[in-house]
Amino acid sequence: MSKSLVDELFEDVHVRHGLEACINCGMCTSVCPAALVYDYDPRVLVNLVEKRDEQTIEELLKSDYIWYCGECMSCTTRCPRNNSPGEIVIALRHLSQRKGLFIHSARGRQQYAVLKTVGGSILGKGYCVYFDDLTLERFPEQGPTWDWVRKNRHQILNKVGAAYKEVKAGPMRKIAESDLAELKKIFDVTGGSELYEIIEEKSREVMKKEGKDEESYFNEVYESPVK
């Protein structure tokens, strides 16, 4: 018999470490940057999790509600009972993805864009972000000086001592294939590759159902504002 969502959630290392006993003081909400800009309240989130109700947890995992938090962990500092709503959010998001429930919410679907950008960079280049991918098209706020740096990259990066795309020690170096292979093997052994595959596979199901190709789906989840 498969485990309940509640059981899986409460077995997660983040819930084991992040949830003691909430006293509903709301201190987490008072300092939460996400609560300042979204209709989001980490105190309510913790209350819902503490109900340990299967239907409630399933609704949460399918909702936008678990995707607002910025994981700054300001809540962790202030909680007088050593809870960490931010850690609970990490567990909820992981479970939502592992069970394929993230595709039921617009913000959950954005994980496809995260996978294609950060996820691809981690295993493809060995960096979470890399210079070559930081285009003005994707990051217009980087501004004209960044554009100038990109156009004159070899001169400027050389001047400041970077090892841009070289296989040697130094900033912006090319990570050796043997090191990338070890990183990939760690993902395979620890379930990291499987998580990538689930996000990819479930997103493709949505694309197929909605008759979208990869590019249009990426652009939609990456750029379209979610109300």
Binding site: V13, H17, A34, L36, V37, W67, G70, E71, C72, M73, S74, T76, T77, I90, H94, Q97, R107, Q110, Q111, A113, V114, L115, V118, G119, I122, G126, Y127, C128, V129, Y130, E141, Q142, G143, P144, T145, D147, W148, V149, Q155, I156, L157, N158, V160, G161, A162, A169, P171, M172, A176, D179, E182, L183, I186, V189, T190, G192, Y222, E223, P225, V226
Partner: protein
Amino acid sequence: MSIFFEKYSKYIPDDHFWFARSCIRQNFFPGAEQRFLKIMREKLKKDVYDSPHHTTCTGIGYHTDIVHFETIMTVIARQFALMTEDGYENIAISCVTSFGIYQDVLEKWEVEPDLLEKARRYLKEATGREFKLPKAAVHTSDIIFKFRHEIASQLKYPLINKLTGEPLRVVDHVGCHYAKMFPSKGIGGAEYPYVLAGLVEAWGGESIDYPERRHCCGFGFRNYIVKADRGYSLTHSRIKFESMYPFKPDLILTNCPGCNMFMDRWQYVIAETEGKTYGDTPGYGIPVLTFEELTALVLGYDPWEIGLQMHQVPVEPLLRKMGIDFDPAGRYYGPDGTFLGKPEKPSFLKIE
């Protein structure tokens, strides 16, 4: 009082560090990491090993939730294995997100030894490597803090406004993951941030408090990575600028590379969209420097070799206040003397 503040200090080794680079710092401020190594080796005569084999810790993937704990703890275990093989016991971490993750992983391993054993098994199976736990895991800003008085003894340009003779007014922004998760691991904890203020005071400047000093810069991980949600990031940086502006700062000082980039770039966006700037001269922003960049400046390194031409908000007003002898045109030349042209001028934010 000294007993009260004991919990806000920490052990920082004196020498022999294994350097863990930061994805964001390398790619946006590569000169900052290189100046850190130069300062450590040339000015402080310390041993820092720069490994060619470590990878990202996957931290941004972890906090955007596409990488789970068991994966990231094993990547961290691999960094420790490389450090062990290289003969080092002290890891010097350049990134604040990574710093928080290292503390998180070490704490969870301590509380749950089974997790540590699992990490050892995973790493052995994936790579054949084994590791020892570090004696110390410190942020690079901790190290500069520890040696701030030695650096003060070599100062070329103290943090004094040469035009007025007054101390420069510096606001700091300490990255959230430096001390908010584990206050005992940060100088001054989360409540009394001192890791940057200590540098400012030691080098002649004035550390200025402001109401939103502890507010997040607004990275918000997925909130920035997904273009549709980036307004979250802008909003929170703006809250900080509005809060510090009345105190007329000469400089924003950071220890987190992401925060540094956001507070530099969002000033440009606010200037272009609202026609609003926060510097003491109309049209100019507040220069934003990482702690390595400031350390290099006060020690007399060339601003363009530090990489300050990569900032969107011009640093020249600060350089002039500090009385730094620099070539204003040097920012536009490559290392071989080639003129690189100039960046397009923003419509509102002034650049030189």
